[in-house]
């Protein structure tokens, strides 16, 4: 069932947005496509209200860092249509050095903390977000730790004594 819905969805999306929907893929039956940041809000709004499947539930917002790519940060949205039991994944690749993207808080209140978390970990600036500040880390941290260039351990740490670690 979901395959036919996926097909229909992509059709209606391309009808509406044309070539700005690209990279369509279906890994493990989950419809995935890419778009760009200018129209992301209207794409998601369209998905929220369309007739094929109303994606009224924002499951998740996160980001992925691909340091080797030109547009190095992918912001990934997962939407869910509870009635039709379909999920959809939307990706937007943005510039690593100027990571900005419009906020989704106007569509779902749930986006608020998800975006704050993404900002905290990846430094993605969500334009128009009402309260964009760090959520998990301390403000003093200074870096966005999930970016690939930062190590897992704190390199400047003083609180770790090697003699206690058997190495």
């Amino acid at each position: 069932m979901s395959e036919s819905i996926n097909h229909e969805l992509i059709q209606s999306l391309t009808e509406r947005f044309g070539e700005k929907i690209f990279g369509v893929n279906e890994p493990y039956g989950l419809l995935t496509f890419e778009t760009n940041k200018d129209i992301i809000v209207s794409v998601l709004e369209f998905l929220k209200t369309n007739t094929v499947a109303d994606f009224n539930f924002l499951t998740d917002i996160t980001a992925v860092h691909y340091p080797e790519k030109k547009h190095g940060i992918a912001v990934v949205y997962h939407l869910h249509s509870m009635v039709k039991k379909v999920r959809i994944r939307v990706k937007v690749f943005i510039d690593e050095h100027n990571p900005t993207i419009p906020t989704l808080t106007g569509l779902w209140n749930a986006a608020n903390w998800m975006e704050r978390e993404t900002y905290d970990l990846f430094g993605v600036k969500f334009e128009g977000h009402p309260d964009l500040r760090r959520i998990l880390n301390m403000d003093e941290l200074g870096v966005h730790p999930m970016l690939k260039q930062y190590p897992l351990e704190d390199p400047n740490r003083v609180d770790k004594k090697d003699e206690y670690f058997g190495r």
Partner: protein, 166 residues
């Protein structure tokens, strides 16, 4: 909202009856339940004196095993250290000398084998990773202690007692 499944079961909040509104019956009922526990056998295990029985699969203190001839099984392959998510295992491998043939089973052995018990999370991955059945987490709980450095357990604490009368 429309039902998403056929398995929906709506739980209605029943309005309070008069008897419930005056508190007392529910309180009396509650009191009767609690007082009935006064006469039940208590569930408590008096710990330091009475030990609760652990499951045979319980993951406690590690022990480095010896084989049936009393030789140490560990061959210092390092898989346990690799598989440890907490990076609590350190080992230094050494070559076995001919005269140590009775001590170690394989040509390589762990000269130093240390586990930092404070970092260990007792997940059992080292036990699974070991291809030589050399490490098992079959001991009791790890005792607490006063100093952090006392928690680095070396081979003196980890290796099984040698077979008797040898």
């Amino acid at each position: 909202m429309e039902p998403l499944t056929s398995k929906k079961k709506i739980l209605e909040q029943k309005p309070l009856t008069f008897a419930e509104r005056i508190y007392l019956p529910a309180i009396a009922k509650g009191l009767s339940v609690t007082i009935s526990h006064l006469f039940k056998k208590e569930a408590t295990i008096r710990y330091p004196e009475v030990q609760r029985e652990f499951s045979v699969n319980f993951r406690g203190l590690h022990s480095l095993k010896r084989d049936e001839n009393g030789k140490e099984r560990c061959t210092a392959c390092g898989l346990c250290a690799l598989s440890c998510p907490a990076e609590a295992i350190t080992m230094i491998a050494a070559e076995r000398k001919p005269e140590e043939k009775d001590l170690y089973r394989e040509e390589k052995y762990a000269a130093v084998y240390e586990i930092n018990m404070l970092r260990c999370i007792f997940c059992g991955l080292c036990e699974e990773a070991c291809p030589k059945e050399a490490i098992y987490l079959d001991g009791p709980i790890v005792p607490s202690d006063y100093l952090r450095k006392d928690f680095i357990y070396g081979k003196d604490k980890l290796v099984e007692q040698p077979l008797t009368n040898k």
